[in-house]
Point group: C2
Chain length 177, copies 2
DNA sequence: AGTTTTACATCACCTGCTTATAGAAGTGTC
DNA sequence: GACACTTCTATAAGCAGGTGATGTAAAACT
């Protein structure tokens, strides 16, 4: 662990990449330690966050965005609906489409979860320097951006209206291609 | 998204923390996109990495280190053993204990996986600036360190010998408390 | 109108965890 | 040195959350 500046040689970057990959594969273990007892799986939480931030989505767009198959997302939406956290709305313009939207209860749970996990994360970051903390915050945002931009471009609702995202019950779930 | 220096006010850190938590919960989706077809779950990969880097571990230590229950780890070890990637050795000093060690085939697979995922990650990081890339590398190492240090301190084998870690078949899997 | 494509749901199945419990081996007590 | 107690791993039963294959209805093409 030499304190190598980022502009080191190219093969040094190669070695660092291998280390980074290892750390990557260990992330799930860390996520498990942050677990909160709200009964929400990681995919469920991420989906709810998305619905809250960007408004209604069609099922297939959610599937791509979360990196699961369409049947998997259909089932997840069914679970969310059963628990009152999301709801299905039919699109009058295209009756094949289902628009999935978050419910007030879903919003409430998202708020609670965010706070609970923030507290846990804050505790976990107790011994971390401000510099490292800043690096974590930056890199997680970058990684999130990468996830959104990667393979088949899972672009959420383009929010064509000027309403608050996710608050418009008639938000157009048009596909994001 | 102002380019705020890390020494900003305390309540600004609070808001950033909430964003960070959200990104955190989305990490699984990103991990799914990196998937390689080697049939290794994230926990399995992380466990193999650990065995490769730090040598033999007892089952319960692995369970703590990976954040799963002891029966869960017993089953994972059984799967690894069935696939020839790890093996159980009995500890003559304490016959309750099982020392789990990686096999040559396991090492081989770890090498392949690391390279395959490094290639995928490298591709994913194509548009990322060197600065952001350095932040990612740093933060992942910090997060890995945090995971290792958090709850009941899952310290691996102290490697009392001077042999290459993980290459000594008789590495003492003494508990790390 | 007939074919093809798109969008979602359903089905059967599997992996990877969980909790509860059992069993075997070490440890401390008297 | 027999007893209770603790520690370590394994087993059993069950559930959540995925997958791939397929069904069904609506839209789009020609």
């Amino acid at each position: 662990m030499t304190t190598r500046p980022p502009e080191a040689g190219p093969e040094a970057g190669e070695a660092a990449l291998l280390r980074t990959v290892t750390s990557f594969d260990r992330l799930l273990g860390l996520l498990r330690r942050l677990s909160t007892p709200d009964g929400l799986s990681l995919t469920a939480a991420s989906t709810l966050y998305r619905l809250e931030e960007f408004g209604a989505h069609r099922v297939s767009d959610l599937a791509v965005a979360e990196g699961v198959t369409q049947p998997g997302m259909t089932q997840l939406v069914s679970r969310l609906e059963r628990d009152g956290l999301a709801e299905r709305r039919s699109d009058p313009a295209d009756r094949r489409v289902v628009a999935v939207a978050i419910t007030p209860a879903g919003r409430e749970l998202v708020r609670h979860r965010r706070r609970a996990r923030a507290a846990k994360l804050s505790e976990l970051l107790g011994d971390v320097s401000a510099e490292e903390r800043a690096a974590i915050e930056l890199s997680l945002r970058v990684l999130e951006r990468l996830a959104a931009a990667s393979p088949p471009a899972a672009v959420p609702v383009p929010t064509p209206t000027t309403t608050e995202p996710g608050t418009d019950p008639a938000a157009d779930p048009g596909r994001g291609t």
